[in-house]
Symmetry: C2
Amino acid sequence: MLNKEKIIKPIAYIRTEFPSKFGIPRQSSLKNELFGTIVFEPEYCHEEAFRELKGFSHLWIIWHFSETEKGEPSLTVRPPRLGGNRRVGVFASRSPYRPNSLGLSCVKLEKICSDRKSCSIPHCPLGKNLCKKQSGISLLVSGIDMMDKTPIFDIKPYIPITDCHTDASEGYTAITQKHTLSVILPKNIDTVIPSEKLSRLISVLEDDPRPGYRHSEKDSDKTYHIEFDMYDIPFKVKEDSLIVLDNIKIN
Amino acid sequence: MLNKEKIIKPIAYIRTEFPSKFGIPRQSSLKNELFGTIVFEPEYCHEEAFRELKGFSHLWIIWHFSETEKGEPSLTVRPPRLGGNRRVGVFASRSPYRPNSLGLSCVKLEKICSDRKSCSIPHCPLGKNLCKKQSGISLLVSGIDMMDKTPIFDIKPYIPITDCHTDASEGYTAITQKHTLSVILPKNIDTVIPSEKLSRLISVLEDDPRPGYRHSEKDSDKTYHIEFDMYDIPFKVKEDSLIVLDNIKIN
C-alpha cells in the first residue's frame, strides 16, 4: 500500500574482536565478556548528543547485517539453535537473512569515552594505540554479537518499563538445549595470545562455533578456522572436546 | 568512516485508532488496551513468513517516524516526561526527532489473523468491514504507540534471554512523576462513542495528552482537540480534571 523507500545512513560503526562472521555469538547479551567500541561519524561526535546517557545501563543498537545482504531474502529461515534443519518464518526469528537487513541488539553500556589520554581500559577492542588516534566520543559496550566494522543506524536507551517483559513467552527458543564443548588448548598458547584475550576466546569456543547441523558430529577430521582479534585459530572437534591446533597464525 | 547510505522499504504498515500524533502514548507497552493491526505488503503476505511466531508473546517493531522527518535532526531533545524543558542527548532518548527517524516498539502479539470469515475481534482497529476486504496475513498487537498507517521496516520476536534485563537502570526516566487527570465526560457521550472505544479513549485522556510544559497549567481556557478513531474530541483542563466538551465531531 505505502511501499515508500527510505534512505538511511550509518551514524557510527563498531569495533569488535570478530573480523569475520564465524564464531560471533548468536544473540546479544549472551557473552557479557565480549566488548565492542562504538565509534561515531563526525556529525554525532559531540558530548551533547550523549547527555544523561550514563544513567542507563543498557542500550539498543539498530544496525546493518552488511555481510548477509546479497541475494533475495527468504520468507523462512533455519535458526542455528534448532540444528539448522527446521525452518521457521523470518518474522519468527532474528536471522540476518531478512527484509531490510536490520539487526537489533541489546548491549551493556560500560563507559562513555572522551578522554583519550587517561584511557586505560584493557578490553577495549580499539586497543591503546588505535584509541589515541581516535577523536571525539566513543562508547564501550559489552555483550556484543556484531562483526568488526558493522555500520550502526541508531542507538536508544533501554527503558525497563517498556522493554523488560518478565512474562514474555519465548517460543521455540525455549527448547534449545545448552550445548557446550570442553576446550583443549595447545601448551604454548599463552606465549601467543595474552591471557585476557584468551579467556574471551575460550568462552566463544566452548559454545561450539560450528554450524548447527554439525553439532551432532562427534568425530570428524575437518579443521575449522575461527578469526578472533588478530589471530587465525584452527581447531577440530572430537567427542565433546574442541581441540585448538598449534598452528595459530597472526594476521 | 563508512558513511554508506542504504535504502530500506516498508514491509508492512499499522492501523491504529490515532489518525494524528496528539495523544499517542509516549512509549510502547504503557497502554496495553490500545490495539493495532499490522497489514503486510503483498510479498510478505504468506503464512510461511510467520511459521512458529505464535509461540512468542511479544514482538519488536522497527518503524518509521514518518511524520517527524522534516528538518535537521538535533543532537539534543526535550523529552515530554521531563516537562519539555530539560534537554538530554538524542541517544539518551527515544525521541522521534533523531538521525534516520527509526522507531522501536515492543508490542504484545494478540492474534495472527488469516481467516477473515470467522474474525470477530472487537478491538481490531481495522473494523469488520475493512477487515473482510483485506487478504492475507495480518497481526493484531496491543500496547501500541504508533500513528495510524505508520510504515514498518522489520518485525522480530522478543527473546527474553537477550531482551529482558531486570537489572537495567533506567536513567532519568526513573524520576518521572506519574501525572494523571480525572476525566469528566459529557452526559450523552455513550450515544456517540461505543463503550468499548470510550474506555480506551479515557485511558488515553487520563494520562494528559497536553505537551509536557503545559502539565503544570491548572486552569487555562485553551481548548485542545484529540483525534481518536473517527472522532474529533475537544477538551479543556481545570485543576486536576480533563473535561471533554460536548461538541464531538465525527470525521
